[in-house]
């Protein structure tokens, strides 16, 4: 026993332990930074993330016009907008699908009574930058463009089966001045259809 745990190996175990502890704590405290971008909405108006630096949060929602899962969330997205846009939270939809053109995006937004801008992301440049893969997929950014939350809106595509409202929880924590407890939660969705590069 004394051979196995000699002073040298005890020291190296201690060093390793301190290193692990340090790396875990530094990971927990750091937020990923998002990149600013400028895109046009379906009305032709340009939007940059820096336009919204006075807001408490910007919610970027990668959505689609044809994906059944994304479409199952349309009424819930409208409800989220109704509940939070007066609390200085900005909602922005982004459509990165190559087959869904700006006319289709406009029609879809009007049909679903989206009161927030929906931006067209030609050649899925922003989806690539954010590494967004699925619709619907949301990013909650603070005014420093730090990602507070990334992932699903809630835990079921069936509204009646929803048990945890992850996006709402993240927004409520953020508005209460707390740090968001679950920063990333994945869910099934449609692949964002990208252009061939």
């Amino acid at each position: 026993m004394s051979n196995i745990l000699n002073p040298v190996s005890i020291r190296s175990i201690m060093v390793l332990f301190i290193f692990l502890l340090f790396s875990i704590s530094s990971q927990a405290g750091e937020l990923k930074k998002a990149e600013n971008f400028t895109l046009k909405d379906y009305k032709g108006k340009s939007h940059s993330l820096t336009d919204y630096s006075d807001s408490k949060a910007v919610i970027l929602m990668f959505i689609a016009t044809r994906c059944p899962i994304s479409n199952a969330y349309n009424p819930r997205i409208v409800k989220l907008y109704d509940d939070y846009h007066n609390k200085n939270v900005v909602f922005i939809g982004i459509n990165s699908n190559k087959l869904e053109d700006v006319e289709e995006v406009a029609e879809h937004a009007q049909k679903n009574k989206f009161m927030f801008p929906v931006l067209k992301d030609p050649n899925n440049v922003i989806a690539d930058k954010y590494d967004a893969q699925v619709t619907p997929e949301v990013f909650v950014l603070n005014s420093n463009l730090e990602i507070l939350y990334h992932g699903r809106i809630d835990d079921s595509q069936r509204e009646d089966d929803v048990k945890t409202n992850d996006l709402r929880n993240a927004l409520d924590e953020m508005l209460a001045g707390k740090s968001v407890s679950n920063k990333e939660i994945k869910a099934f969705g449609c692949t964002i259809k990208r252009v061939n590069k």
Binding site: R66, P68, I69, A132, Q133, V134, E137, R152, D155, R158, I185, K186, A187, F188, G189, C190, T191, I192, K193
Partner: protein, 181 residues
């Protein structure tokens, strides 16, 4: 010394009995899970997935995650059927996992499989948390469908293919895993 030998014999006897029982349970499990009647769709829990990945018996495994609501998945499915036809079932296991709900087996999953004339087993995902299922298959995967995962004969994941694949791209990936691992 005598009691030590008795203890040792007792230990090995118990060990032998337990391992035989486990072996039998595993055999039963394999017969049940990869059912020959491909229109029987079972629920995939964490333990079922773990056994599927562990009990490779020297075979490569291609796992395809799809859903009836996912258009590219539906378009890709005939290529999976073609792929299953082209491989000896003793060499490669092709297994589908539907991301529909378990209560949609009869209403959506089976009618789709019937229409596709499916020739490989399919499960419906039933993890308590969807996210755990996604991360169990690949930490980098965000949950976009379809997605395909290829495991070597030791059960290690060697390929992760996101989005709709073709018969050729799937076949090439299997051949690469066969050659390299």
């Amino acid at each position: 010394m005598k009691s030590f030998i008795v203890m040792l014999v007792l230990f090995f006897t118990i060990f032998f009995i337990i391992s035989r029982a486990e072996e039998k349970a595993e055999q039963r499990f394999n017969e049940n899970t990869l059912d020959k009647d491909y229109l029987i769709v079972r629920e995939l829990s964490e333990t079922t997935l773990d056994s599927l990945l562990r009990d490779r018996n020297g075979k490569i495994l291609l796992l395809n995650v799809w859903a009836t609501w996912c258009m590219p998945c539906r378009e890709e499915f005939p290529d999976l059927v073609k792929l299953a036809k082209s491989y000896d079932a003793n060499m490669v296991d092709i297994v589908g996992i539907s991301a529909d709900f378990p209560d949609e087996i009869d209403s959506k999953i089976v009618p789709f499989l019937k229409e596709q004339e499916v020739n490989f087993p399919n499960f419906v995902q039933n993890f308590e948390k969807q996210e755990d299922f996604i991360n169990r298959l690949n930490e980098e995967w965000q949950g976009a469908l379809p997605a395909t995962f290829i495991y070597d004969s030791s059960g290690n994941q060697q390929r992760y293919l996101l989005g709709k694949q073709s018969y050729n791209s799937l076949r090439r990936a299997i051949e690469e895993v066969k050659r390299d691992f």
